[in-house]
């Protein structure tokens, strides 16, 4: 999930048909095309579904089904700061649930409840850092052995960084 360009990407230009055409590559699967769209726009805009379905000879239901089946694809633009915290077994053994409560308290947001103000908290299951738990990403950047203090430092830095990008 990490490489998602976060906000920050320029708003994609062109009509929905043009935007779909840009990402269609010969032999590419629907997943690959959806990744390309989301990598550019940060999410899968609803107005691309119909042209995408038509271009790939699929029904809109099939495209919608794929988008909503996979946790990675989003139908809304991402928040300025997205925190993904691993809540799987290895991280649980190292107190990720306590950390999750701390993160909710510090940010004033709830996990898996969508956008709140400028932050979104997401549960993920395993970032592959199970020997260095708990693990998380903030705006795509991976961090291991996260403590409440480390979280606060990284989170505040990410917010400052996101604000600075807004001014550009």
């Amino acid at each position: 999930m990490v490489q998602m360009p976060h906000k920050h990407q320029n708003q994609p230009t062109g009509t929905p048909d043009e935007r779909v055409a840009r990402h269609l590559k010969k032999g590419a699967s629907l997943l690959a095309v959806l990744h390309a769209i989301q990598d550019e726009a940060g999410y899968i805009p609803a107005d691309l579904i119909a042209p995408l379905a038509q271009a790939m000879s699929l029904s809109r239901a099939e495209v919608h089904g794929v988008i909503t089946y996979y946790h990675h694809f989003r139908s809304e633009p991402p928040a300025r700061v997205t925190v993904q915290l691993c809540r799987a077994e290895a991280c649980r053994s190292m107190g990720t649930e306590t950390l999750a409560a701390h993160i909710e308290g510090h940010t004033g947001c709830k996990f898996d409840s969508g956008h709140q103000v400028d932050t979104e908290l997401e549960t993920v299951y395993c970032l592959g850092q199970c020997a260095l738990s708990p693990a998380m990403t903030i705006n795509g950047e991976l961090h291991a052995r996260v403590t409440p203090q480390k979280f606060e430092r990284l989170y505040e830095a990410a917010r400052v960084h996101a604000s600075a990008e807004d001014l550009v």
Partner: protein, 518 residues
């Protein structure tokens, strides 16, 4: 010119290795010391990351847990010549944690630059492929069978049988698919291969292609592994430039092409048929078997689908011979398994050893006990669908059959350790919750059973410990085990029932044996 190694795998990066590499280069320049910074893979001693090494006449000297703030002080202590410092570990190759291992698959890991084709060949790379090109395909399948290599993704199916089936199948196009959807908590050996020694996976897949007459391969990597995806893509490009991939593999008349496909955050896509659906661009819904993918796989064509470690182990088997590999291990579990020591553990990382080692050895001799310093209480082996083993089972040898005899699974050798503050009822409820979140929804026992499971466990934990509830939970688990289409629903009861059997007190139940057996 002094060579200084700073790992580039994602564990090291997650602890600031990029900043360390920059600081090393900057500090060396400031002091006028000529340094080449090599971004090597990880040695698998993850608790020591970022582990910086410097090449000296004595060998490569390691410095552990280096932060960018430490770099100036390290140079003050003559880092470039392996000088003394509190973070100095000595010669890395001789550290007992590493030296005691039997690294066959992971022989090169951390030593080489993952993207250097020269490094790869210098350290034994391509020997297996060259042998495979000279070997008759039927004989190659027999050799793989003789090596005893079984699917390292967890199912432990003999790789040679799969390959033989695909080789014998007649079809216009066959495929090699690598399952790199390593979604199980407590596992990272696939990731380490992809990030730290990607060419051995590529080599293994080319061998599979040549032996089974498949000319196209896909590596399906989970989207949570962007670093692995990036490394693989670069490695594939370089392998193509080097003539390892393409229309003429190493100048032979054999062709093989390879590409990376990115998953999208679905645990069940680690199940082979769901993975194939996903690779075809569809929802990752499990297919009924038979037909097996070896006959009707990707796009309906015969397909070898193997896990990363299985394919990455193929080159050494071909390079050194089936007997060499087979002579490690015990019983019907031949060769080595890269154990992954994870969770609440002091010295977490990758320990490759022959089958037969015990959990106790792994937890204490390698793991050094818990990170919290409290007594270890339970270990979950084989991922979220594996059982929780209480201390009384920690002396069983790691062997597929010995584990199966007590209802446990070795799986891919992932081990998550929990200390005495853990609550196994909570973990059991979590197991059901995870199944509810990640179920593909195709079969009822998994889709509905998991949600009912969460509810029943919650009721028991809330104080309704009547035999009725416990019977209900066991009955539900029985339905899931017997009635689910794949391991997602079929094995979620493993952690649940093992928690209930071995740690009933966490559910508010008494430890009386009468409540055990169903």
């Amino acid at each position: 010119m002094t060579r200084i190694y700073v790992p580039c795998d994602s564990s090291a990066l997650a602890l600031g290795a990029d900043r360390v590499a920059l600081a090393v280069a900057a500090e060396a320049q400031k002091r006028g010391i000529e340094v080449e910074v090599v971004r090597n893979g990880s040695r698998g001693m993850l608790w020591l990351e970022p582990l910086v090494e410097v090449e000296t006449a004595e060998g490569r000297i390691g410095y552990s847990n280096v932060d960018d703030d430490d770099v100036a002080a390290l140079f003050d202590a003559d880092l470039a010549n392996g000088g003394a410092h509190e973070k100095r570990l000595g010669v890395v190759d001789t550290l007992p944690w590493l030296a005691k291992q039997q690294r066959l698959t992971f022989a090169r890991i951390g030593i080489t630059d993952p993207l250097s084709t020269d490094d790869y060949v210098k350290h034994g790379g391509l020997e297996g492929l060259r042998k495979a090109l000279e070997t008759d395909g039927d004989a190659a399948c027999e050799a793989l069978l003789e090596s005893g290599l079984r699917g390292r993704g967890g199912a432990a199916f003999p790789a040679g049988i799969k390959w033989r089936t695909v080789r014998a199948a007649l079809a216009p196009q066959k495929y090699i698919v690598c399952n790199a959807d390593e979604g199980d908590s407590g596992t990272f050996s696939d990731r380490l291969v992809m990030e730290s020694d990607p060419y051995m996976l590529i080599e293994g897949m080319i061998i599979a292609g040549i032996v089974t007459r498949a000319t196209k391969g896909y590596i399906y990597v989970r989207s949570e592994y962007p670093h692995a995806i990036a490394t693989l893509n670069r490695a594939i490009d370089k392998a193509r430039d080097a003539g390892w991939l393409g229309a003429s593999v190493l100048g032979s008349d054999k062709a093989f092409e390879l590409e990376v496909a990115k998953g999208a955050g679905s645990y069940v896509c680690g199940e082979e048929t769901a993975l194939l659906e996903s690779l075809e661009g569809k929802r990752g819904v499990v297919r009924a078997k038979p037909p097996v993918p070896a006959l009707v796989g990707l796009f309906g064509q015969p397909t070898v689908i193997n896990n990363v470690i299985t394919l990455a182990t193929v080159p050494i088997i071909f390079a050194k011979g089936a007997a060499f590999y087979r002579d490690f291990g015990m019983g019907r579990s031949r060769g080595t398994l890269p154990f992954q020591i994870a969770g609440n553990v002091k010295q977490g990382g990758l320990v490759e050893l022959a089958f037969g080692v015990t959990l106790r050895e792994l937890i204490y001799e390698y793991g050094g006990g818990t990170a919290s310093g409290r007594p270890a209480r339970a270990a979950q082996v084989g991922g979220p669908l594996g059982t929780y083993l209480p201390e009384s089972q920690w002396d069983i040898p790691m062997d597929y059959e010995a584990y199966a005899a007590v209802g446990a699974v070795v799986g891919h050798g992932g081990i998550v350790i929990h200390d005495d503050t853990s609550n196994l009822a909570d973990l059991a409820q979590y197991a059901m919750h995870f199944c509810a979140v990640e179920s593909c929804g195709k079969c009822t026992p998994c889709r509905i059973g998991s949600t009912r499971g969460v509810e029943v466990i919650a009721k028991i934990r809330a104080g309704d410990t009547s035999p009725k509830q416990v019977t209900l939970l066991r009955d539900l688990c029985d339905t899931m085990v017997s009635g689910s289409l794949c391991a997602m629903g079929g094995m979620t009861p493993y952690p649940v029932l093992s928690a209930l059997d071995h740690f009933p007190e966490d559910f508010g139940l008494s430890k009386k044996p009468s409540q055990k057996a169903a």
